[in-house]
């Protein structure tokens, strides 16, 4: 197709003036990968010729230049171009939206308005840098809620579901960094490195360095020293130890599983958490067998194959779960 023809056709399309037959024609033309480039070139030309409003480009550029020079860095949160004027306008909008939604969806929805969810897919770890510089490495199948509008006040508060490693930066104002883990567990720090695990089956905190205060249910508090490990189960009982080997708690960072005399039922739970697949072991004797070793697995199948070889178990994919059984002798 001639360039001038396609240009006219696309301009008509952008204005909503094409017939469905012409649309089909554009779609076929777009199937050619390099034509997509042309599409956006013409879209840009068309936008130049059909302005909607005049953004304050100078102001925005000045702000962008400040950011480029590294003075203001706010990667995760939206950047407000004009801190004062903009915030009030935006706040209005947000408030109106929040009010509306609150009426419709109830108070429970408030969290989604105030917090933004950072997430990781099954089998993938993702790293984030929060607006004040804290680095978070999110383990697979986990989510972290951070304030949508940036941290305010003297407490930096995030909500963790799953597992993550935090490298918390110490702020000039000594602001506390708080990780809420649900079920009334929370971690409070000023600036340290730690790994937190928060799922339904229990909570776990491994402190690499610095100092950490843990808030437990019923108002209890404990302090942690570097190298110590806090574990609590579903029943609320907890213990604090100083493991000689930190690898079991940090192995996930290398997409590795670290088992040391670990129950197969526990292995199954870890696979579920990491890859979001359901694993069932109907035979309780099998579930109580133990396994050791360090295994690298980027997907559930990797690990299951190793298990089947190692323990001579049979792995069957059922409709909505994977079943581990002892093979029947012929």
């Amino acid at each position: 197709m001639k360039e001038s023809v396609i240009r006219a056709l696309l301009f008509d399309f952008f204005e909503g003036k094409t017939t469905s037959i012409q649309r089909k024609m554009i779609e076929e033309w777009l199937a050619e990968p390099q034509n997509e480039e042309l599409y956006y070139r013409y879209l840009d030309q068309w936008e130049s010729e059909h302005p909607q409003f005049a953004p304050d480009a100078d102001h925005a550029l000045a702000h962008f230049q400040t950011m480029l020079s590294g003075i203001g860095d706010e990667p995760v949160q939206p950047i407000g171009r004009e801190p004062v004027g903009r915030v009030s306008r935006n706040t209005w909008l947000w408030t109106a939206a929040a009010a509306m939604i609150t009426i419709v969806f109830g108070v429970a929805f408030q969290k989604q308005v105030l917090y933004k969810s950072l997430e990781s897919a099954p089998g993938r770890t993702v790293s984030y840098r929060l607006s004040e510089g804290t680095e978070v490495l999110l383990n697979a199948n986990s989510s972290l809620l951070v304030p949508r509008f940036g941290f305010s006040g003297s407490t930096r508060e995030v909500i963790l579901d799953g597992e993550a490693e935090f490298k918390v930066t110490h702020t000039a104002g000594h602001d506390r960094f708080v990780v809420k883990m649900g079920d009334h567990y929370q971690i409070e720090v000023l600036g340290t490195e730690f790994v937190a695990f928060s799922r339904a089956r229990g909570k776990r905190v491994f402190l690499k360095n610095g100092k950490v205060k843990l808030q437990l249910p019923q108002g209890k508090q404990v302090y942690m020293k570097p190298g110590s490990l806090f574990v609590s189960g579903r029943d609320g009982a907890f213990k604090m130890t100083a493991p000689a080997d930190p690898r079991p708690y940090t192995a996930w960072k290398e997409q590795t599983f670290y088992f040391d005399n670990t129950l197969l039922s526990d292995v199954a739970a870890q696979i579920e958490e990491q890859f979001d697949v359901r694993v069932r072991i109907p035979d309780t004797l099998l579930a109580q067998r133990r396994i050791g070793g360090i295994y690298k697995a980027t997907q559930a199948d990797d690990l299951l194959l190793i298990l089947s070889d190692l323990m001579e178990i049979e792995i069957t994919q059922k409709e909505d779960h994977i079943e581990l059984t002892i093979p029947k002798l012929p």
Binding site: Y40, R41, F53, A60, L61, V104, V126
Partner: protein, 216 residues
């Protein structure tokens, strides 16, 4: 094991799918109008980003507002894209033209905003960039989406439309709109919320189609 690069967090980086395409665009054919930018980026990325900003900021804002109908939100979306573009060093990984990357990023972000705002597909955890393999149709559907929004607004009753545009697009306060329209602030509020719910309703009918085409 590889380290996980920090740039993973650009939640809707649309360029990612492109990286697996059949290699970069033949430079001589289409992308050559960006050669100056590209050479600037290899010499001095900071300067390159600035040039890119100067070149596309206004047009991208104009594109974004077609979806979000708010000057402030449109400008924020575009500023955010440039910020992540620099902070994640996306310019090192873009295999398409910068222009294609930026327009796609604006469309994805605007779409996500709209989706959040309209609360149509309710769960916040729904995948936002499931279209890993962009279809040619995607480029068209975004255009059709903002046209659809435009039509809905055009069909609103005159008073309703006026209140909506003053409030949302111009970003005026309720009492400012009230003064301009010679009605009470309460009435403005009612008009705007009527407009929004109308858009939501009409869009959701359209959205089912849009969403299934896109993400299934």
């Amino acid at each position: 094991m590889t380290a996980f690069p920090l740039n993973d967090f650009d939640e809707d980086s649309p360029g990612r799918g492109q990286e697996h395409a059949d290699g970069p665009v033949p430079a001589g054919m289409v992308a050559d109008d960006e050669w100056l930018l590209r050479s600037q980026f290899s010499a001095n990325p900071e300067k390159g980003c600035e040039l890119l900003f100067r070149r596309y900021y206004v047009n991208l804002c104009n594109h974004a507002i077609r979806f979000v109908h708010s000057r402030a939100v449109a400008e924020d979306i575009v500023s955010e894209i440039f910020t992540t573009f620099w902070q994640n060093q996306t310019f090192l990984h873009v295999s398409t033209s910068y222009r294609a990357y930026l327009y796609k990023a604006v469309r994805h972000r605007a779409y996500n905003y709209l989706k959040w705002q309209m609360r149509f597909i309710a769960p916040a955890d729904a995948p936002v960039h499931a279209s890993e393999s962009p279809s040619p149709d995607e480029a068209l559907q975004y255009t059709e989406l903002h046209q659809r929004i435009e039509l809905i607004v055009r069909d609103l009753p005159a008073q309703c439309r006026r209140a909506y545009l003053l409030k949302r697009v111009e970003g005026k306060k309720y009492d400012e709109v009230a003064e301009e329209m010679n009605i009470s602030a309460k009435a403005v509020e009612a008009l705007v919320s009527r407009a929004l719910s109308r858009i939501r309703k009409e869009l959701s009918a359209h959205w089912v189609l849009f969403f299934t085409l896109f993400f299934c």
